[in-house]
């Protein structure tokens, strides 16, 4: 049926196991159907006029010439929206953000006017007919100057706001940490910047908004990782009753967090459809995506690590200056303004730890948490893994040995860390040992010494570096009691229906953006019911057809929706038991489950398969009182805790000191994400994340000049890694099941993105013998770092 050429090499397992992705049959044939493929009768096209300034007062907006363009059907300004109470929208972080600017523009690329025209070309042409008069204001570009007393105030729209301060937030025990530091033998400190980066999905964000004037129903085809959350947001913001809103997310060409939030272009398209009575399509272009949609990171961190002189880690203290851009639009569980940054003690047994995070406004695009970071764990993991290397450097110790000596021991799990997390399970030394063996660590160190000696003797040749990162992730948000988004608890529903002939359809709330949910979720159900995953269809991404849930990000699909799928399949299995008992005329307690079949204990010949039971459940079979017919169930899964995947990564680089060019020669990644439902999909997720990590560590750069011009607004400037920069990844695995997840799975989507940047950076700095320099380690940065004059990656290079 959906088989690919060569697919017979990998037969479909009856449940978990290696299996080719069902969705690839259409993707590799170019038959995916994305938002931009949606064409509705009479559909119009939107385009956005954006601010060329980072900070300016709007004096006037003249749209008359654009309105008289023969193909223009509507021109929407901030004032048009203000008339409907829609000029501002709530963000996911208790702030508001402009939909179309009315008073000021606050970053380059901010939305000012939305034009609706008969085609894309006319809409774009009309933008050049609009006259906006600006009075430029001094911008706040350098986050470190945002709180200066004389800094211009960006958010004068907020009552009583006299500075650019967003929030202060802390975690851990400050006094206990200070005490540990006061008595420590050694304290190493380091300033680290995790620069602003962009998720840069290859498919940019887009929408087709279609309001039916007769039924009053709004149908939204959109690139959304969280369809149900979006439905509620449209209801809250636009005042359309929620049952009259249907969100459809078709195939999505990458999300990485970029497609979680609500963007002005979406709302303007809805308003455009309301005004014209026609469907309105809007698709971002590449520069718009890079300039205005959710960025990630931008954490200026001051780290301190306290230790004994032989490298036993005692405490960690961190101060963070977080650049949130012009509006606080960070997407994360509401009670955590710095996301889960406070897992920054990582994989180590640290007595005391404390962090303080200060968020500031700057004249840059809003966003915050996006890009495969599990809510700021990327920043946290980078911090601790860099600090351990800084400590090793200062003490003259081997970074592998320092890590091994400080890793949590298996008997410490479940482990309550100094900042309040309870790690569910792990055997860290086993994983690090495997990675060191796979890499041939001692041999690599010998080669490194030889290469350095040769370089020092001749002044020619290349240097070599080895970088390690041991990360602990915290994914699967999350328990309703502590985690919500806009008041919505982070539990996910699932619905399963087994058809009379024994095939099934599963409906879930999460939404794949390339993770292979159609395959993994079918395998989950297949495993529980003992039917082929080929016989299970997944329905996702349509709010009229799926149960409520919070969506796919933060590696939460398998930990939350995946658990819901297990639980609903087990409910169906129990229902099937009752039906089977009626069929076999025995008591349900007398039946035993053998994968795919209920059979009478002690009489294996007497049994019924799920398909037989399904048919009977829909037939005229007499069922016991109180048992309804058919074979289906629903459930809602509220996770008791997060799951804590982890891994040991080792990167080997070659660096040409004459040019500063660094090449990743090898990358060993041993991941432990608990039980692997489909090991091939896990490997694919890890491959992608490792490539991401190489990109962030070596090339992705989004700086701003003094005027606030975005210096990374195209793929010529914002470089994504290619296959040429990626070695053949060497993957390994250990399996430590999660004790609280129904099948012991932990989630893996972001592990490699979280864990790999530090390994690459550690390797390059190890090669050149430099204590620290900030990412991205471009040739220029490496060369400057060797000179002791590293570049600040957040500002224009001078």
């Amino acid at each position: 049926m959906s088989a690919l050429p060569g697919a017979t090499d990998v037969p479909t397992p009856m449940g978990h196991g290696p299996m080719l992705r069902k969705e690839d049959a259409r993707f590799v044939r170019g038959r995916g159907r994305f938002v931009d493929d949606v064409r509705l009768p009479g559909m119009l096209h939107g385009a956005i006029l954006r601010s060329p300034h980072a900070h300016a007062r709007i004096l006037s907006v003249d749209v008359s010439a654009a309105e008289s363009h023969p193909k223009v059907r509507a021109v929407i300004t901030g004032e048009t929206l203000a008339g409907r109470g829609l000029a501002w929208m709530p963000t996911l972080s208790h702030d508001v953000a402009a939909v179309l600017a009315t008073d000021k523009v606050r970053y380059q690329g901010q939305e000012v006017v939305f034009v609706v025209a008969e085609d894309r070309y006319a809409a774009r042409d009309a933008l050049s007919l609009i006259e906006v008069e600006y009075e430029p204001l001094p911008p706040v570009i350098d986050a470190r100057r945002a709180l200066d007393p004389d800094a211009p105030v960006i958010r004068d729209d907020l009552d009583g706001r006299a500075d650019n301060h967003v929030f202060d937030w802390e975690s851990g025990d400050a006094a206990a940490t200070d005490a540990v530091f006061a008595s420590a033998e050694r304290v190493s400190t380091c300033d680290l910047l995790y620069p602003r980066v962009h998720p840069a999905p290859l498919e940019t964000c887009g929408i087709v908004a279609d309001l039916d004037r007769i039924t009053g129903k709004l149908t939204v085809h959109a690139t959304t990782q969280a369809p149900h959350t979006h439905r509620m947001l449209y209801a809250l913001i636009a005042g359309i009753p929620e049952h009259k809103i249907r969100i459809i997310a078709p195939d999505i060409g990458g999300g990485f967090g970029n497609k979680v939030g609500m963007y002005p272009g979406y709302l303007c398209s809805v308003v455009g459809s309301v005004l014209t009575g026609a469907p309105v399509k809007w698709t971002e272009d590449r520069s718009e995506n890079l300039m205005s949609s959710s960025f990630a990171r931008d954490y200026h961190m001051h780290g301190e690590i306290a230790a004994t002189k032989d490298g036993r880690i005692l405490g960690l203290r961190v101060r963070v200056l977080a650049d949130h851009g012009a509006f606080n639009g960070t997407a994360q569980p509401s009670k955590f303004p710095a996301g889960f940054f406070h897992v920054f003690t990582g994989s180590y047994d640290v007595k005391a730890a404390h962090c303080r995070v200060t968020g500031v406004y700057t004249n840059k695009a809003p966003g915050g948490v996006a890009y495969a970071c599990s809510f700021r764990i990327t920043e946290a993991s980078y911090l601790v893994e860099r600090m351990v290397d800084v400590l090793s450097h200062d003490l003259g110790l081997d970074p592998a040995a320092v890590r091994m000596a400080n890793l949590l021991r298996p008997e410490q799990f479940p482990y309550a860390c100094a900042t309040g997390w309870e790690y569910d399970s792990g055997d860290y030394p086993r994983t690090l040992t495997l990675a060191l063996e796979m890499a041939g660590y001692d041999e690599l160190r010998r080669e490194q010494a030889e290469r350095r000696a040769a370089y020092e003797a001749t002044g020619r040749g290349s240097l070599m570096g080895i970088g390690i990162s041991f990360f602990t992730e915290a994914v699967g948000a999350g328990p309703r009691r502590t985690m919500d988004i806009l008041g919505l608890g982070m539990a996910d529903g699932a619905e399963l229906r087994v058809h009379p002939t024994g095939t099934a359809v599963l409906r879930v709330s999460c939404m794949s953006q390339g993770q292979g949910h159609e395959t993994t979720f079918a395998q989950i159900v297949g495993e529980e019911l003992g039917i082929s995953p080929d016989d299970v269809e997944l329905v996702q991404g349509d709010t009229d057809q799926t149960p409520f849930g919070l969506g796919t990000y933060g590696s939460r699909s398998t930990p939350v929706s995946g658990a819901a799928a297990v639980m609903v399949a087990r409910k169906v299995r129990e229902r099937a038991r009752i039906v089977a008992a009626a069929m076999l005329e025995v008591a349900p307690e007398d039946l035993e489950w053998h994968k795919g079949r209920w059979q009478v204990a002690g009489d294996p010949a007497a049994g019924r398969t799920i398909a037989q039971i399904a048919l009977a459940a829909h037939s005229d079979l007499d069922l016991p009182d109180g048992v309804e017919g058919h074979l289906d169930a629903t459930c809602v899964y509220n996770p008791p805790n997060l799951t804590f995947p982890f891994g040991a990564y080792i990167c080997v680089v070659d660096v040409d000191p004459g040019t500063g060019q660094a090449t990743v020669r090898r990358f060993v990644a041993v991941d432990d994400c608990g039980v692997r439902i489909n090991p091939m999909i896990v490997e694919g997720q890890v491959h992608g994340g490792l490539a991401d990590g190489v990109g962030m560590a070596l090339m992705e750069l989004m700086a701003f000049d003094d005027d606030g011009n975005h210096l990374g607004a195209s793929f010529m400037d914002y470089l994504l890694p290619t296959s040429m920069e990626c070695p053949s990844w060497e993957l390994g695995e250990t399996v430590t099941p999660s004790p609280h997840h129904p099948i012991g799975a932990k989630g893996v989507g972001e592990s490699a993105t979280v864990g790999s940047p530090a390994a690459v950076v550690n390797a390059v700095l190890d090669a050149i013998g430099v204590r620290h320099a900030d990412m991205p380690l471009t040739p220029a940065q490496v060369w400057r770092a060797v000179q002791g004059r590293p570049i600040r990656p957040d500002l224009a290079i001078r």
Partner: protein, 297 residues
């Protein structure tokens, strides 16, 4: 998706036809070759020509061959053809070095040699390469054909001597025995434009030792070198022994004479350093190739 402004389009059927169209439509017309520079600029609306004249059918502008003691590269030869050309690689391995690091296979399959040099981007790899090789540009217009040495071809960033109603037809490089050539580029990622790059072509009089440099051509890309070259370093090299010391001094002179501009690819001091370092590396490699050639002969 970025969309260009309105434009008209015509397919030229001969070079004369293309020139006639250019004459008729004047400054608002542009020829399109591979379109890999022009179309992106049109989509960004940095270029808004009213008339596009497509020269992709003009096979008279294609081909790579040796004729009359010259390597002749047609303006419409694609990057991939130059990369695949055995004669080009045999006479000037520098061209293969350069083509291997220009963009990616997709761009190289469409992008043309003529389009590259007419675009005259200060970071264009072939501009440095052809300057080092002292190529000659053959340009056709309504008045006939004229030849312009590469070193007089570029009149500024994105500017060349090719007039609004003229077409670049061919690049010619004299074939001279006894030489070696090389191109070295530093980029941030495969397919990225150069942070800096250097080209060297060098002819040696074999000696008992390293040999004496009888002639040399240098090219420098993306470092603000006047005319994509380093004349003072070339003068220094001529007549000197092909030693590490000579190359190091030439590198120093080349670095001193360029005027790099800082951008997100790197600060000026780094680019200046690269100008020197890469000059040394290309000279070293070109000399090694020249010697290997000498031994074969």
């Amino acid at each position: 998706m970025q969309v260009p402004a309105h434009f008209e389009y015509q397919r030229a059927t001969s070079v004369d036809h293309a020139i006639a169209l250019l004459t008729r439509y004047g400054a608002e017309a542009r020829v399109v070759a591979g379109g890999h520079s022009l179309i992106p600029m049109m989509k960004l609306r940095l270029a808004q020509p009213e008339m596009l004249i497509d020269i992709n059918d003009l096979h008279e502008l294609g081909g790579i061959r040796v004729e009359g003691g010259e390597l002749r590269i047609g303006a419409m030869a694609r990057h991939s053809e130059l990369l695949g050309s055995a004669v080009a690689g045999e006479h000037y391995p520098m061209l293969h070095d350069a083509e291997r690091v220009i963009a990616d296979p997709v761009v190289r399959n469409r992008g043309t040699i003529g389009g590259s040099v007419c675009q005259a981007d200060p970071s264009e790899d072939l501009s440095g390469a052809f300057t080092a090789l002292r190529a000659t540009a053959v340009i056709r217009g309504a008045e006939g054909v004229r030849s312009v040495p590469m070193r007089a071809f570029f009149t500024g960033p994105y500017q060349t001597v090719v007039g609004p109603a003229e077409i670049l037809a061919e690049l010619r490089i004299p074939v001279r025995p006894g030489g070696g050539s090389a191109y070295v580029k530093v980029d941030r990622r495969a397919g990225d434009w150069a942070v800096a790059a250097a080209a060297a072509a060098l002819w040696l009089e074999p000696g008992p030792g390293p040999g004496t440099i009888t002639d040399v051509g240098l090219g420098l890309t993306a470092v603000g070198a006047a005319g994509f070259t380093a004349v003072a370093a070339e003068e220094f090299l001529r007549g000197r022994p092909a030693t590490e010391e000579t190359f190091a001094e030439a590198g120093r002179i080349a670095a001193e004479h360029c005027r790099p501009v800082a951008d997100q690819r790197g600060p000026a001091d780094y680019k200046r350093h690269l100008a020197g370092e890469l000059t040394v590396r290309t000279l070293r490699r070109a000399a090694a190739r020249a010697r290997a050639r000498g031994q074969e002969a």
